[in-house]
């Protein structure tokens, strides 16, 4: 996937998230792209590792930085105890018009993920996506072991929240499979 197509997907995603009430900060974009890539097989060629608030991609951070530098995204401060919202600029509309096939192709997956995470804050996204990451990477371990592992890698998350997050992630993956988005 070339850079232009990747930027078009990120612009479409940020517009969808904002339009449906998400805070849409960098963490929201990071986690949404992680779910798009891992659960819905939209390959934006970002490598995710467990890092800041769960799955995190340095490649994706570089893309966001480049989009800000190019005037496609802007950072808008809305609350002092939250990081900035990433908003598509007016200028980005012309850019997006040049990628009609890309946005049409991935719109169903973007809308699915938006619907799933639009009202989640950073703490909730951290739990959900870390659980999804562990489900993908730790095969053949049971629910309780998975919850233990989640607390081990993220010690600020309680056992109760970890168990709930694994259930949520399993439901998300199952629903995506029912929608036949999974490649």
């Amino acid at each position: 996937m070339n850079k232009g197509k990747r930027f078009a997907i990120l612009l479409k995603l940020s517009s969808e998230l904002l339009g449906h009430g998400s805070w849409c900060g960098e963490t929201h974009i990071q986690k949404a792209v992680f779910l798009l890539q891992q659960v819905l097989s939209v390959d934006v060629e970002s490598q995710f590792i467990l890092y800041k608030h769960g799955p995190f991609s340095f490649d994706l951070r570089d893309s966001i930085t480049e989009m800000i530098a190019n005037g496609l995204l802007e950072e808008v401060i809305r609350r002092s105890d939250y990081g900035p919202t990433l908003m598509a600029t007016k200028e980005s509309a012309g850019f997006l018009e040049r990628f009609p096939k890309t946005t049409a192709k991935y719109s169903p997956q973007i809308e699915f993920i938006t619907d799933w995470i639009r009202d989640k804050n950073v703490g909730e996204l951290e739990r959900l996506t870390t659980a999804a990451f562990l489900i993908e990477n730790l095969k053949n371990i049971d629910y309780e072991e998975m919850a233990n592992e989640l607390v081990r890698v993220k010690p600020h998350i309680s056992m109760q929240d970890a168990r709930a997050a694994i259930g949520d992630a399993q439901l998300l993956i199952k629903t995506a499979q029912q929608h036949k988005y999974v490649g």
């Binding site: 232009g4 197509k5 608030h53 570089d62 930085t65 950072e75 939250y82 990628f99 010690p155």
Partner: protein, 422 residues
């Protein structure tokens, strides 16, 4: 023992700023002194952020080593050694074009890791009291970005931020101050003493209590000053158009020189014995030889560097051009190559760095807020995209005229979709 090791002594022969001394004559400092500086600063930051008076019970509970003095002593040593070794894998002239100059999948961070985990260095780590685990040193030296196969605990993540972090990494603190001093570009200076004194381990903002490296409100002006220093150093030094074209000429020379060197398969060797033998000195000798012998590979690139006959700027990216074309510089480069030939055109598109304003700030009333919301200065700093297309000096006048007449048509994508192949 570490400083005396051949891997560390090699850094005496690796220029910190590549060929920048051709523009800023004082910029002849080496990775050696930078690495010593990073070690010293890392120790100072560690002492501040782990001081018991500077911690809350919540942070102590999330990061257990903070409660055990013997563990703190161990980790301080690990951090200092990681800081010392973080640049050990750098190629000659600290060259950034690693994907072309190293075998696929290799970076200088990966070579640093090989060095840290080599039998020679393992012997040194084992002889320390207490012995240090190479894996711990690797994690802190290269960070999660370059050790994706290793899982970082919250504690290791915070410690790696001390060295490689975007906001307060001591690698960055040292190179800004040191490069500013040696180039004479005074914009790069800031009060790092105050900055370090105010650093703290804080819970993140945004409904997550994950610990991160942050700063007290009293240090916010020092943090702003550092961010501005970085902004100006990138504009004035690191992304100076002539520095960037010298980098391209050097890359062209290295590719030609390495292609002649069958032993290494056309790239720099990743074998540590060969790495030890390859410094700026060997490249300088080869470059001088090639510059005076037109039969040698890389003759033209070597000549462009040593005779100061570098290519000239044909096009500099303009923020307005992105409205016309998603990759304006690359589009003009391709058109210019069609018109003037690949030998006459060069292109630079250095990788952008984030502003580094993503950190928590502890206010005087103990609230923890996002830095960008506390500081107007940080909120206004934006990354700047850089792209230059260069042309051979002999074709400059002709090329400038050609671009003036054709630029709009070259960049225009009106009515055209850019994702036809989708």
């Amino acid at each position: 023992m570490v400083v005396d090791s051949p891997f560390f002594q090699r850094l005496r022969h690796i220029n910190q700023l590549a060929l920048s001394y051709l523009i800023y004559p004082g910029a002849t400092h080496k990775r050696f002194e930078h690495s010593l500086g990073v070690m010293e600063l890392a120790g100072r930051v560690f002492d501040v952020v782990t001081k018991q008076d500077n911690l809350t019970d919540k942070i102590r509970n999330l990061l257990p080593p903070l409660k055990h003095f013997s563990q703190l002593d161990y980790w301080k040593r690990v951090l200092r050694m990681a800081a010392l070794c973080h640049d050990a894998g750098h190629l000659p002239f600290s060259h950034a074009a690693e994907h072309e100059l190293l075998p696929q999948g290799w970076t200088h961070e990966k070579i640093s890791r090989e060095i840290i985990e080599s039998p020679e260095m393992q012997a040194i780590w084992s002889a320390m009291t207490p012995p240090l685990r190479p894996e711990h040193i690797t994690k802190l030296a290269v960070g999660a970005k370059h050790a994706t196969d290793l899982q970082f605990s919250s504690w290791e993540r915070v410690l790696s931020e001390i060295i490689v972090g975007d906001a307060f990494g001591v690698d960055r603190i040292d190179y800004l101050l040191r490069d500013s001093h040696h180039t004479g570009v005074a914009y790069g200076k800031f009060d790092h003493y105050r900055l370090i004194d105010e650093l703290r381990i804080l819970p993140s903002v945004e409904n997550s209590s994950e610990p991160a490296l942050g700063i007290k409100e009293g240090g916010i002006h020092s943090a702003e000053s550092m961010a501005l220093a970085r902004y100006f150093m990138f504009s004035q030094v690191y992304f100076h158009p002539i520095r960037l074209i010298y980098d391209q000429h050097l890359r062209d020379f290295l590719i030609a020189w390495l292609s002649e060197n069958k032993l290494f398969g056309g790239t720099f060797s990743t074998k540590l014995d060969n790495h030890l033998m390859t410094t700026d000195n060997e490249v300088n000798v080869a470059m001088r030889t090639a510059a005076f012998d037109s039969r040698k590979p890389g003759h033209h690139a070597a000549r462009a560097i040593l005779a100061h006959q570098h290519f000239k700027v044909l096009y500099e990216r303009n923020p307005q051009d992105i409205k016309l074309n998603s990759e304006p510089g690359a589009t003009i480069r391709d058109a210019a190559i069609s018109k003037f030939g690949a030998d006459a055109i060069s292109y630079s598109n250095p990788k952008l760095k984030s502003v580094g304003a993503d950190f928590p700030v502890q206010m005087r009333d103990d609230r923890v807020l996002a830095a960008i919301a506390v500081s107007d200065t940080l909120s206004l700093l934006k990354p700047r995209a850089i792209e230059y297309v260069y042309v051979k000096p002999e074709r400059y006048d002709e090329a400038i005229k050609w671009l003036q007449e054709n630029k709009e048509e070259i960049l225009s994508t009106k009515g055209k979709a850019e994702d036809e192949g989708e």
